[in-house]
């Protein structure tokens, strides 16, 4: 143990951030190391590896329950990562809601992981894991609540196959956060007054409406499945319909099934939606930031 500590000091690894240090971006944590990213949905799991140079590499997809897929793919996954560290994106059994006047601060993110009741107060629900995305200019926040049981089961499955989760996140929520950050970063002086942001990730859908600089409404449904295009449209349509004419609509999506994405985009194009989707966007978001 002492020898390991001495080795870690002499190799400078003792000064690098921990592999599961949530305050540091994934790319910085795994400089010059291979990592693996998993996207766990209700009935399928997709994965993608990242090379030591930070380039996306091998990937794959398999239908079925994650607990069944993991033992079959364990050896392949272990070969794709240095040290067995993986990022897991769960796309099932979560809900995103709009909240107001939640605690903000530098320590808030850490506190939300260790003592969420201190941040959420009465909104805290036992058996949930939380994440927050604050409106940059108002007191509104998007609150993600994921099933703790699902997170724990996913972590346990990974541990049994010799992998270590360095981060567990929600792919759809990450994409929404990333899109909001991009929209506000690209506002170029003028605040984006109104917009509708629609996100889809492996059959989970979320739509956020902002009017006059305020987040007005948010609808979300996880684990719909890629075949439920109609249901997804029923969730999105009311928000788009309520938006004043001319309101920009942004669409961001990720998924193995291009048909689901195309059908959604076809409908959204009718209201002039702008597609912010890029290739491998989910992997880039969770594997870089």
């Amino acid at each position: 143990m002492l020898l390991d500590e001495i080795k870690s000091v002499l190799s400078f690894s003792a000064f690098r951030p921990d592999a599961d240090d949530a305050n540091v971006s994934w790319a910085k944590r795994f400089e010059n190391r291979k990592t693996l990213m998993l996207n766990v949905s209700r009935s399928q799991t997709s994965w993608r590896s990242m090379t030591r140079k930070g380039k996306l590499d091998e990937g794959g997809m398999q239908d079925g329950e994650f607990a069944d897929i993991a033992p079959q793919r364990a050896e392949e996954w272990r070969s794709l990562t240095d040290g067995g560290w993986v990022v897991v994106s769960v796309n099932n059994r979560f809900i995103i809601s709009l909240e107001n006047n939640l605690m903000r601060g530098d320590n808030c993110v850490h506190l939300l992981r260790t003592n969420p009741r201190a941040v959420l107060g009465p909104k805290y629900d036992r058996g949930k894991r939380y994440a927050l995305c604050h409106h940059p200019e108002t007191t509104a926040s998007m609150l993600l609540a994921a099933e703790e049981a699902l997170v724990k089961v996913t972590e346990d499955v990974l541990k049994t196959v010799g992998l270590r989760p360095g981060r567990v996140c929600c792919g759809l929520f990450a994409m929404m956060e990333y899109a909001i950050t991009s929209i506000y970063d690209n506002k170029q002086g003028a605040s984006p007054g109104s917009f509708v942001l629609v996100g889809a990730c492996e059959g989970s859908v979320a739509a956020l409406a902002q009017q006059d600089g305020q987040w007005k409404d948010l609808r979300c449904r996880s684990g719909l499945g890629v075949e439920a295009v109609e249901t997804a449209l029923q969730i999105i349509s009311p928000l788009v319909a309520k938006a004043p004419p001319g309101t920009p609509v942004f669409f961001i999506s990720e998924g193995q099934d291009q048909k689901f994405r195309q059908e959604l985009m076809t409908q959204l194009e009718k209201v002039g939606a702008r597609d912010l989707t890029q290739d491998d966007l989910l992997w880039k978001i969770i594997g870089t930031n």
């Binding site: 949530a22 929600c170 990450a174 956060e177």
Partner: protein, 183 residues
């Protein structure tokens, strides 16, 4: 790169130690610097040791050469010392010699007109060159004439030692040792 950092709701680990502060990076840096410096000094020492061995060999050869030179010079010095000692002895001997002519003149003047100096021998002592054995024969002389010769020689700082006189007919045969007295 955007400042955005993806959320994370992983179960926190409680077996992790706090990261070492960045200022502690000085420890491995100093360690590696010490290694590099150590390697440098060891290399330099090895090179210097090799150089010193070569120098030592060279100087050993020079020392052996000097030793043989020294032996040769010591031998020469010994010979010169012997020569010098001999020369010193000669010089001392020469230093000790006194001229004979004044003695002969003084003895001749001491003899009165009625007497005749039949024979005069001055023998220098080889070991003590300032001493002489004086022997002379005085024909028709008196004992006071012999005494006058000795008195005159004392004026030249020669003291008569163990004088012997014998008379055979009209001839006084005298013999004495003359010893130089430095006054």
């Amino acid at each position: 790169m955007s400042a955005y950092i993806c959320h994370d709701f992983k179960t926190p680990r409680n077996d992790t130690a706090r990261r070492l502060p960045n200022s502690f990076r000085i420890v491995p840096v100093v360690f590696y610097l010490a290694l590099i410096a150590g390697a440098y000094f060891v290399t330099m020492d090895v090179i210097n040791i090799r150089g010193a061995k070569a120098e030592k060999l060279k100087h050993d050869q020079v020392k052996a050469q000097h030793e043989s030179e020294k032996t040769r010079f010591a031998e020469e010095k010994k010979n010169l010392d012997i020569e010098s000692a001999r020369a010193t002895e000669v010089a001392k001997w020469i230093e000790g010699t006194r001229v004979i002519q004044p003695l002969c003149v003084r003895v001749a003047r001491s003899v009165p007109t009625e007497a005749t100096l039949g024979e005069l021998i001055l023998e220098r002592n080889e070991q003590l060159p300032d001493q002489f054995i004086l022997s002379f024969k005085l024909v028709n002389g008196q004992p006071q004439h012999v005494q006058a010769v000795q008195t005159n020689l004392e004026q030249l700082n020669y003291r008569s030692y163990s004088p012997q006189q014998s008379k055979q007919g009209d001839t006084w045969d005298c013999r004495t040792n003359l010893v130089w007295q430095d006054r």
